[in-house]
């Protein structure tokens, strides 16, 4: 490839947090140093990612082969940074900093146990995430995907009680089960069909493999369900189950790492394995099936979210729906819809992390978990609830947040594909999104009489404000702001994504 730059930067970016893990363990007696290590590695990581940004933005890709020895598989462990990976890495590494800050506040605020383990595995998870983002072939992708599943298990089961145990079980059963049961055979089938080529560079792997319609369909679905971190129904229930984890973990799962890795993998499959031509009506026309499954997920999960009283569960189901937007966009395989999908990774990440931070902050400050208890909360926690409002706007897709940009692209892409039914799905789901978020905000600021819990002040005044610790509030403010900034500064992101999308050969 002529536009490839060889550099070991991706490796170091990936290792930055992995190497931090032993340091974190080493400083287990010195919480400040330990968290210092977390921060240092987080900034180093972001710095390394940013260092790669100009190269990638300049239309080049960075390649680095770590191990070239898998003769039988003919697929080295290699990194390849392109626009898609870059965007994802950028999102993940920048949000990690915020999340670290937040988790320090959260963990200290609640005097959680085993914080060392928590931070160590957090760092390892981030490494795995970046590994996925930078994966240069399907094998590397799979490898880091599995690593992420395993590294997040101790986080999900952090509380080590019965509930955590059940949640952890569901978590691993779904993730490992589907990845071994579906993704691995699909991977091997791809490998055989393509004659031993698994790399993402150049043409899509299966572009000229001569698949039949049925084979293509089965393979695509195997990948889509195999990478069940994307939360497609019917393999979604690990996500609400994993809500037992501490809130920073939920934030990590929902915004930074896990679910995004899932949809990222599906995007990779669509663009890199099949190629958009093959997915679309011009090729095997298999994308539409996936699109409808995603659409189904969107509607159903939104309806379920509407009925949830536990805030975190409501957010979880919202995530499932939002992820399916991304899958849907990818499956439609038009230029605009793929762009929208990729942008939605960033937009949803920023929005959803804000919402989770808010939920966590509310829990830290008041111990409240249920929406019905939150009436009038705007009076005591105005910053948090404002951020919550902005986050909701982002997820619904209203201005002035990044969510609008991505959703706009998605809708336009759907229109481009001429799928009127799916347009309807977008319309309905957006209404549903608004329906499950906005009442929360409305209740918080304008509670109906009689619903306000005792102890809530009658009127807002600064003296009654009892926000969560600053380490919680600052991050959520940052992310809320980020959501707005991304709206106004979306040009850069679009450029980055555009670079990538234009290389797909629409």
């Amino acid at each position: 490839m002529d536009n490839a730059v060889h550099s070991s930067l991706p490796l170091w970016a990936c290792l930055a947090s992995l190497l931090a893990a032993p340091v974190i363990v080493l400083f287990r007696r010195e919480p400040s140093l330990r968290e210092g290590a977390t921060f240092v590695s987080a900034f180093v990581k972001l710095g390394l990612v940013l260092a790669m940004l100009p190269i990638v933005a300049g239309g080049k890709v960075i390649e680095f082969t770590l191990i070239d020895g898998f003769a039988g598989i003919n697929a080295p462990i290699m990194f390849r940074v392109d626009g898609l990976g870059m965007l994802f890495a950028l999102v993940a590494s920048s949000l990690w900093i915020v999340t670290s800050l937040y988790s320090i506040g959260y963990m200290r605020g609640l005097h959680e146990h085993s914080q060392t383990r928590f931070f160590a595995f957090f760092a390892i998870s981030l490494s795995a995430t970046l590994g996925v983002a930078f994966a240069g072939n399907l094998l590397t992708l799979y490898l880091f995907y599995e690593m992420l599943s395993l590294a997040t298990w101790p986080l999900v089961t952090h509380h080590q009680d019965k509930e955590a145990r059940t949640g952890g079980r569901t978590y691993l059963t779904y993730l490992l089960g589907t990845s071994i049961g579906f993704a691995l055979p699909a991977l091997i089938f791809t490998w055989i069909k393509s004659g031993g080529d698994l790399s993402f560079g150049g043409d899509a792997i299966l572009a000229s493999a001569g698949l039949s319609h049925l084979q293509g369909l089965v393979l695509l679905l195997a990948f889509a369900f195999g990478f069940s971190k994307a939360g497609m129904m019917p393999f979604h229930s690990w996500l609400p189950g994993a809500m037992v984890a501490p809130t920073p973990v939920s934030a990590l799962l929902h915004a930074v790492a896990v679910v995004k890795v899932g949809v990222f993998c599906i995007l990779r499959v669509v663009t890199g394995v099949f190629g958009v031509q093959l997915i679309g009506p011009g090729g095997l026309d298999v994308g539409i099936v996936l699109a409808w499954i995603a659409a189904f997920t969107v509607i159903v999960s939104s309806l379920i979210a509407l009925s949830q009283d536990n805030l975190k569960r409501r957010l979880a189901f919202s995530t499932i729906g939002q992820l399916s937007y991304i899958v849907l966009g990818a499956a439609l395989a038009t230029k605009l819809s793929v762009t929208g999908s990729i942008l939605h990774i960033a937009a949803h990440a920023v929005g959803k992390i804000t919402l989770f931070f808010c939920a966590g902050a509310i829990f830290v400050a008041t111990g409240k978990k249920y929406i019905s208890q939150m009436a009038g909360l705007g009076r005591t926690m105005p910053i948090t609830m404002s951020a919550f409002f902005i986050g909701s706007l982002g997820v619904i897709g209203l201005p002035p947040t990044a969510g609008l940009i991505s959703k706009f692209h998605l809708v336009m892409g759907t229109a481009e594909a001429g799928e009127k039914g799916l347009l309807l799905v977008f319309l309905v789901s957006t209404i549903l999104n608004a329906a499950y978020f906005l009442p929360v905000v409305y209740q918080a600021f304008f509670p109906k009489a009689g619903t306000v819990p005792e102890g809530t002040p009658e009127k807002f005044s600064w003296s009654t404000v009892r926000e969560a610790p600053w380490a919680c509030v600052v991050p959520l403010s940052i992310t809320a702001l980020l959501s707005i900034i991304l709206f106004f500064g979306s040009g850069f992101l679009r450029e980055l994504v555009g670079q990538f999308v234009s290389g797909l050969g629409f």
């Binding site: 898998f70 003769a71 039988g72 080590q160 145990r165 691993l172 071994i180 691995l184 091997i188 055989i192």
Partner: protein, 523 residues
Amino acid sequence: MSEQLPAILLLSPLFGALITGLVGMTDHRRCFPILATALTVSLFCAISLLAQVVKSGPIDYFVGGWDPQRVPLGIGIQLRIDGINALLLVVITTVALLTSIYSIRRAGEENTEKTPQFYMLSQMLCVGLLGITVTADAFNLFVLVEVSSLTSYALVAMGSKPRGTMAAFNYIIMGTIGASFYLLGVGYLYMKTGMLNMAAIHQILSDPNVGHSPTVYVAFILILVGVWTKMAFFPLYGWLPNAYSYCPSTTSCLLAPLMTKVSVYVMIRVMLSVFGSEWIFQSLGWSHTVVWLACIAIVAGSVLALAQVELKKMLCYLIVAEVGYMVGGAWLANHWGMVGAIYHILSDAFMTLCLFIAANIFIKNRRAERIDQLEGLFKKMPITTTGFVIGALAMIGVPPTAGFFSKWYLLRGGIESGQWGYVVALLISSLVNAILFFRIFEVAYFGKNPVESHDAHHDHEDETQPSSVGDSTLFSGEGRPTTVIPLLITAAIIVLLGVFNGPIVEIIQQALDGMPVVGAAIR
């Protein structure tokens, strides 16, 4: 001297055993240095043989100098080392060496008065296994199988557990039946071909007049059943779980990784160099049946493992399932299935070793024989559990461990030959393994009865103070360095073998070029 390496490879542990017998009788402390020296010499020989094979192709060694330039082939006994068995030699010697490190003090504790005998037997076991691997003579293979079997019967029966002795008796009966069937099969072949040398038999069998005789078919069945008994293939596995779980821990570390694997290698050797894959897959055409048997073995082994409450028993049933992997892979009748089976022999040896060492450390240090007694191990023995986790992940098939890649090749073979049942069985077993091991992880991580609600313990451990797992206590629950170090080395090997599986697979493929796996004719 380098052309004498095959002989030295075998003689070194043999002399080690003899010297142990003479010297060690008076002073038990001298046994281990002798053993370690003998095995190191062997390991060195194995590695240089591997290097030679990679560089310049298979090595033929004619014992007694009866080489074909002087006399017809098959007059003397031939040793043949190609890439596959060179790799296996390295694995056998490495495993034996690691186990010997593990046994430094354990052997003395478990058989106080009989330490020299233990070391003698384990060295003779190595002689047997190495000999089985290198020989190219069908009858010589039987003799060496008996060397390894007799020593392993004794190693199993040495323990103090009554059930172990009973298991050893069953092992003897089954082992004798297996070996006798093999011997009978060789007799049938000899009757039809007049030869005992594998290559010579192969040459004669390629003549359809001889090759299609019912006698040869029966010979093949006999050999196959014999070897299957030795490797504990599904319906014939009955002896294995008790024998391996009630024997002394050092024995189980030595036998579990090696015996079944070498038997699988014998099957592959017989298939490829005696009968030839063409004969087996094209004129016999049983590959479907055997692969289905293997599927049953895999599923049955996994399900039985799921039903166990004892850790070692569970691992034993996993061995049964793993044997199914390898038999199935070898019978997929294509190149990749065979590569996968052979690569799995190598990786499974280390995986099993890793798990057995870890399990034995658990049993020794925490008296935890049952799975539910493993609670809280992550805290108490972090290093040992790390080793265990790596072995378990390899067993599940998580990248980048060796277990993932062997499964990968096997799956490729299965998909290419269209044996979907095998593919499904493999995936089911991976999932069952995942359930099995995460059940253990959970117990080890949470404890048996986790706290009811997670509000209860928010204050029970304040991290601002030094955590309860301080430096002084962190490793206090660990086993001795002599037991933990081999475990960690094994774990490292598992990962390295996975990451650098390329060169190894290359060697296997190179060796298979000499005796290509010809697929079934009609599909």
